[in-house]
């Protein structure tokens, strides 16, 4: 647990130090400091993962040493240690991209990304509904401020995002208040032992779910996402799509897999799963028709989150532990792949001087590395073997295929796969159009392009440690 707390407090301290230093630290040095602190946090997260793997169970900590129910409880499960590691890794990677590639970022990016890192770490560790609310608030505000970093054109999406995010937080808070009023406790573990499916609990859970779905941009509450994610600076889009939307999903999963009574979860599960299926198709179709590259990638986030929602819904409906694994493999694979897609899209936009998908003609020749990264990460989104996306999909499909009455769900997954393939191949096909090449405006920034490739390779590498990942996530109190 100590390592987890260290991994959590390093980025927070770094954010405070960066704020204090202000203009005294040059932009470049601020970047180096943020990257080094993320690296330190990554190291701590790694040791934390080793600890949990050795203990092979969740570790609980009552903050302040007070008794259960009075104290806020932190919980370090195998999943949260993995997510800590994942968060720190993404921050290192995107930090290096933001600091050293050609597209600079303003100084406040570093403060905000450190704060984002800290708040995500706090969220993964928390097992207290009200504490989760505060981390959710932190997450939302950081994301809004980061979208606003892009300057005037992003103010409107940022303002919309802010208002929706606040409304969503209030919905969640209302649910927390109802739960506290009903059970007199905020602790996830204690609540899990005593919830019943009476009217109060139902309303509380539904209100919280609505708020969290709005925050996570799950269909049908996703309309704010494409504008916000497509208008942010490239590094920020990668962080938002790869990490920020996963926070509310974590809380949603915590609510329905632990707090909610089983019979209620079984009732609501199919609804969520169907919504996930619709998200897959509707988001995919929007991505397919989008004329702009970054909007396409943003809509693909909406579509891919459909898989996560489907896994969650089926987890609730069937109460199969395997679905936990599927859900979190999706989240991690999608985070890595989406980081690549946004970085590659941003790099291609700058190099080719166009925001349109049609401007990518001949990209296989002019920006080969970035285009390769895009295609490779796209392969994981489609779920081509042996990528991380395939691994997740396989875990999801296995129980569906094993009994014939579940085949309709498998059909939904198949449909989603087809649509994902359609929008990825649309981009790839245009990039092979060498007859009418769109000449690059500037020489490609080599570092940026190779950095974009790195997470794509990692998501394919997930398959190599697939067995270990599945075992790690299914063992010990996830």
């Amino acid at each position: 647990m100590t390592y987890a707390l260290v991994s959590l407090s390093i980025p927070l301290l770094s954010a405070l130090a960066l704020m204090l230093a202000g203009a005294r630290l040059s932009n470049r040095n601020a970047g180096i400091m943020a990257i080094v602190t993320s690296l330190l946090s990554l190291g701590a997260a790694w040791f934390c993962l080793l600890d949990v793997a050795a203990a092979n169970q969740s570790i609980l900590l009552n903050l302040g040493g007070w008794e259960n129910g009075l104290a806020i409880r932190l919980r370090l499960s195998p999943l949260s240690s993995l997510l800590l590691l994942f968060t720190a890794f993404m921050h290192v990677l995107i930090g290096i991209y933001a600091g050293f590639s050609r597209r600079g970022v303003s100084r406040d990016f570093w403060t905000l990304s450190s704060l984002l890192h800290g708040s995500l770490a706090a969220l993964w560790l928390s097992a207290d509904l009200f504490n989760l609310y505060i981390t959710l608030e932190l997450l939302g505000l950081t994301a809004v401020a980061m979208v606003a970093l892009a300057g005037k054109k992003a103010y409107k999406p940022a303002a919309n995002y802010l208002i929706l995010s606040l409304v969503a937080s209030l919905f969640y808070l209302l649910g927390v208040a109802l739960v506290y009023g009903r059970y007199g406790s905020l602790d996830v573990v204690l609540l899990g032992l005593q919830t019943q499916s009476d009217t109060t609990t139902r309303i509380a859970l539904l209100v919280m779910t609505a708020g969290l779905m709005l925050k996570a941009a799950l269909w049908p509450l996703h309309l704010w996402l494409p504008a916000a994610h497509a208008n942010a600076p490239t590094a920020v889009s990668a962080l938002l799509s790869g990490l920020v939307v996963k926070g509310p999903i974590f809380i949603l999963w915590l609510l329905w897999s632990e707090v909610a009574p089983v019979d209620l979860a079984q009732q609501i599960g199919p609804v969520l799963a169907v919504a996930g299926m619709i998200a897959l198709v509707a988001g995919g179709l929007s991505a397919m028709r989008s004329p702009y590259l970054k909007t396409l990638v943003a809509y693909s986030t909406v579509a891919q989150l459909g898989y996560a929602m489907m896994a969650l819904g089926l987890l609730m409906a069937w109460q199969l532990p395997q679905m936990h694994v599927a859900l979190w493999l999706f989240v991690i694979a999608h985070g890595l792949a989406k980081a690549t897609l946004f970085l590659a899209a941003g790099e291609m936009q700058t190099t080719l001087g166009t925001k349109r998908v049609s401007g990518l003609r001949g990209a296989t020749q002019t920006v080969p590395v970035a285009m390769f990264a895009f295609a490779v990460a796209g392969g994981s989104l489609i779920g081509l073997p042996p990528s991380g996306g395939f691994l997740a999909k396989w875990v999801l499909l296995e129980p569906m295929l094993s009994s014939p009455q579940n085949w309709p769900w498998a059909f939904g997954v198949l449909l989603g796969t087809l649509v994902s393939a359609a929008y990825i191949f649309r981009v790839v096909a245009i990039s092979f159009d060498r007859a009418r090449i769109n000449p690059p405006d500037v020489r490609p920034d080599r570092l940026g392009h190779w950095l974009a490739l790195l997470p794509a390779l990692m998501v394919w590498g997930m398959a190599l440690i697939g067995e270990w990942l599945i075992e790690f996530l299914s063992g010990g109190g996830v």
Binding site: G64, G65, I72, G181
Partner: protein, 325 residues
């Protein structure tokens, strides 16, 4: 229905009326005035519900500082924007939705037995047959370092929440600063000089400011044993700063000053430092040694009050020259 319920019903109706007015007032000025009144009614309701801490915070932040912020913002809008214009259809629908939700809740509370079993407040709910949360708070209070339960919860039992809340405040400021990127080219030209204040207002401000500082200090000190504490004290100090700034008695606060930035982060920094020190040398994250708990809480509250006061003032009166680095 008993007579005791009458003030509550009146307050509730007043609240809805103010909310309606703030949303649908014909001019922005009316809407803002109604919004401030709305904040006052909310504060009254909190006081009526026996939560004086919340009432204080709501009156100072919700009604006072937010009101000033709205007026400041309205001053910068062009004159033709002062009329709210046509009704936006989604306002109506969202309001309808809200009313329906409330009605649903009311119906549900009246009919559902789970609330009746549990009693509406949490104090009657036992946790797995164990003690209730208020009982636990009372039992642990002697070891918490302070004698007022709310402060004990905020700064000891659930100190982690408060630490994160301080970060939320910092983040709000950082977010607002994004709206003023870079150093303004002509710092004098694009910021209006503060309007010449009316002499009576000036002397009032000179008289009120020290009183507000005194009151803030009192609230902070009182937090250990009664309603009060860092957030309320910080908000009062901020209102003093805002008043002085609006009357032109206070020079612009500048983000480029190291001391100002230190003041802004001091609360969170000290709090995090205490947490780390307790992790490294003590019994664990945010475990205060019992004999030092009182002193540590006062220290953290002092730093937090300063940070909250400076941050809130910057949020309310910060303009380009205050906030850009």
């Amino acid at each position: 229905m008993t007579l005791e319920l009458m003030p509550d019903i009146v307050l509730g109706a007043l609240l809805l009326l103010m909310a309606w007015g703030a949303l649908y007032a014909p001019t922005r000025y009316d809407a803002m005035a109604l919004f401030v009144a709305f904040g006052v009614v909310v504060a009254l309701i909190w006081a009526r519900l026996g939560a004086p801490d919340l009432a204080l915070a709501e009156a100072a932040i919700g009604a006072g500082l937010t009101g000033v912020l709205l007026m400041q913002a309205a001053r910068q809008l062009p004159a033709e924007a002062s009329v709210t214009g046509k009704r936006m259809p989604w306002f109506g629908s969202s309001l309808l939705f809200l009313v329906l939700t409330c009605a649903m809740f009311a119906a549900h509370i009246l009919t559902d037995s789970s609330f009746k079993q549990a009693g509406i407040d949490a104090s009657a709910t036992r946790l797995l047959g164990g003690p209730t949360v208020p009982e636990m708070v009372t039992a642990a209070l002697p070891n918490s370092g302070v004698s007022y339960p709310v402060t004990a919860v905020l700064l000891n039992f659930r100190a982690w929440d408060t630490l994160l809340e301080l970060l939320v405040l910092l983040l709000a400021l950082t977010g607002v600063r994004q709206l003023y990127p870079g150093t303004p080219q002509h710092p004098r030209a694009n910021t209006a000089s503060p309007p010449q204040a009316w002499p009576v207002l000036l002397s009032w401000a000179r008289f009120l400011a020290p009183l507000l500082v005194l009151l803030g200090g009192f609230l902070l000190w009182r937090g250990a044993s009664g309603p009060g504490g860092a957030f309320q004290a910080g908000a009062l100090l901020a209102s003093a700063a805002v008043m002085l700034r609006l009357t032109g008695l206070l020079p612009p606060l500048r983000w480029s000053s190291f001391l100002l930035r230190l003041a802004v982060i001091l609360g969170a920094l000290l709090f995090l430092g205490v947490a780390l020190a307790s992790l490294a040398f003590g019994d664990g994250w945010l475990v205060y040694p019992t004999q030092w708990a009182g002193a540590l809480i006062i220290l953290i509250e002092l730093a937090a009050t300063l940070s909250i006061a400076v941050t809130l003032s910057l949020l309310v009166i910060g303009e380009s020259e205050d906030l850009s680095s």
